[in-house]
């Protein structure tokens, strides 16, 4: 299995780039950022949703994407995991050229974990079976080992005792934590989160944010779309503000206190 490792001319970015250490068996070590978008364009029919989006995520970094509804945040995330195929530009994840037509999807998806607003748990499987499914059939782990992994990630999200429950028996917050655990179980190099708390009550939101904060503290590379400004400001290394399909402003948490562009100011005034 050979990846097209295409070292693009390096671009400076404000994040901390750590060189990749151990790495998984399948992926060649590569020095660049974990995720790199370069001039990405994407349209749905006549509706141009992404208009030249570029940004990078370094190893261990946690980046929050904010922006008004319809600004293209979800689409950007979906493009990174190749749920959408981009029209132009390039996306690289852990050295895998996502925009290549011959991209090894399985490999890509082993590197990337993604969690959506709607938890998308498999309703006919128990919490543990949800987690085991991909471990057994994609990673081909033996039963005992897979079980160990499942227990570990469930503990990580604080839901060991719910292993035998079915999704419908859980609260929204619990379901979302299971969804995170399910992604984590695959040991991805980077986790994408798309408004994972938008459908939850404030109280349940807390549980989920806490899990994400723990993850960030544990060194996971994370890219999350969120409306929780306070959380983004406190936890994220950098914040990307998207507006009308473009990266409009990028900066550390403090940028929310002093928006440079009127658009971000308007957005913050409305949202908070």
């Amino acid at each position: 299995m050979s990846q097209i490792v295409n070292p693009l001319p390096g671009k400076l970015h404000s994040g901390l780039v750590a060189t990749e250490g151990g790495g998984s068996i399948n992926t060649a070590a590569h020095p660049g950022p974990i995720v790199k978008l370069d001039q990405v364009y994407k349209s749905f029919g006549a509706n141009q949703v992404l208009k030249g989006v570029s940004f990078e995520v370094a190893k261990g970094e946690m980046i929050a994407i904010i922006g008004a509804s319809g600004s293209g945040k979800s689409t950007a995330l979906r493009c990174i995991d190749r749920l959408e195929v981009i029209d132009q530009g390039s996306i690289e994840v852990c050295g895998i050229r996502v925009d290549s037509p011959t991209v090894d999807l399985k490999q890509l998806r082993l590197e990337v974990g993604i969690v959506f607003q709607s938890y998308n748990l498999f309703p006919h499987l128990t919490v543990e079976e949800n987690i085991l499914l991909a471990l057994r059939h994609v990673k081909k782990l033996p039963r005992a080992e897979a079980h160990q992994v499942a227990l570990r990630v469930l503990e990580q999200v604080g839901l060991q005792e719910k292993a035998a429950a079915y999704p419908e028996q859980l609260s929204g917050g619990q379901q979302q934590r299971v969804a995170i655990a399910r992604s984590l179980a695959m040991s991805p190099k980077v986790m994408l989160f798309d408004e994972v708390t938008s459908a939850l009550d404030p109280q349940l939101t807390g549980e989920v944010l806490r899990v994400m904060e723990d993850l960030a503290a544990g060194g996971m590379t994370m890219l999350l779309v969120t409306h929780e400004m306070a959380f983004a400001k406190r936890v994220a290394d950098r914040i990307i503000y998207m507006h009308q399909g473009k990266v409009w402003e990028v900066g550390a948490g403090e940028m929310l206190d002093a928006p440079k562009t009127p658009e971000l100011k308007a957005f913050l005034d409305n949202g908070l």
Partner: protein, 249 residues
């Protein structure tokens, strides 16, 4: 004229009746198992991107669902034979039943597949599961669970439809009835006995499918038990959805 029902004449025939019932059950079982398998493939094929394939499947489903089973049997039994394809009665009858039930099952299962949220399929893709695994674990299993009641009532209709196989010399329950009544000249009694046997068979099938459902779909059982255990609070009765209507006539 006063007619007195007399079932005693039929007593010596009970092994014959049981044989017929057994054959009916056997034909139904084989047809159901093969038919659901074929129907599943057809359901996926109808959803496929390959236009000709999905068109053919759609045509197959519509033709079968809009013509009588009796005509299908005649067409298959005599029609195929007259163009040189011959098969034993049992095979012909079961084949007709498979062709019939597969179309109904395909339509039912397709409805189930369509109700799987797109997000779940995407979530499975993102976990790196292959197309086949997604089809089996994420799409088919919950679909079957959802449409299981509709499927089982289709099984019952199929069992009834097997009565028409008597017309092509399959010695199932109805054919037995025709023979016995001509032996005993007790037609009304014979058909009453046979009606009771069919009723018993359908109860057996209901029981078997229920037990099978409880076994296969653990979720329903677990959730129900936990709900009963956890909250003794009265729950409002669920609103019944409209009975899905199928049929094999």
């Amino acid at each position: 004229m006063k007619y007195a029902l007399d079932f005693s004449t039929l007593l010596p025939y009970w092994p014959v009746f049981l044989n017929g019932a057994w054959l009916t059950l056997k034909m139904t079982a084989v047809a159901v198992v093969v038919g659901v398998a074929v129907g599943t493939l057809v359901a996926f094929a109808k959803r496929s991107q390959i236009q000709p394939l999905s068109r053919i499947c759609a045509a197959y489903i519509e033709v079968v669902r809009n013509t009588p089973f009796l005509v299908q049997i005649f067409l298959l039994y005599f029609g195929l034979a007259s163009i040189g394809i011959r098969m034993p009665t049992f095979a012909a009858a079961v084949l007709a039943m498979v062709i019939n039930i597969a179309a109904y099952a395909a339509e039912i299962i397709r409805a189930g597949l369509e109700s799987v949220p797109k997000g779940q399929i995407e979530a499975a893709e993102c976990l790196g599961l292959s197309k086949w695994r997604i089809g089996w674990h994420v799409m088919l299993q919950p679909s079957i669970e959802k449409v299981y009641p509709a499927l089982t009532s289709q099984f019952l209709l199929m069992m009834q439809a097997s009565a028409m196989a008597s017309q092509i010399s399959a010695e199932e329950l109805t054919a037995i009835a025709n023979t016995v009544q001509s032996d005993t000249f007790r037609s009304l009694e014979t058909y009453i006995v046979v009606a009771a046997l069919y009723l018993a068979l359908s109860l057996v099938i209901k029981l078997v499918t229920h037990v099978l459902g409880e076994y296969l779909f653990r979720r329903r059982r677990v959730v129900r038990q936990t709900a009963a255990r956890n909250s003794r609070q009265a729950v409002r009765p669920p609103t019944a959805s409209i009975a899905r209507q199928g049929g094999a006539a």
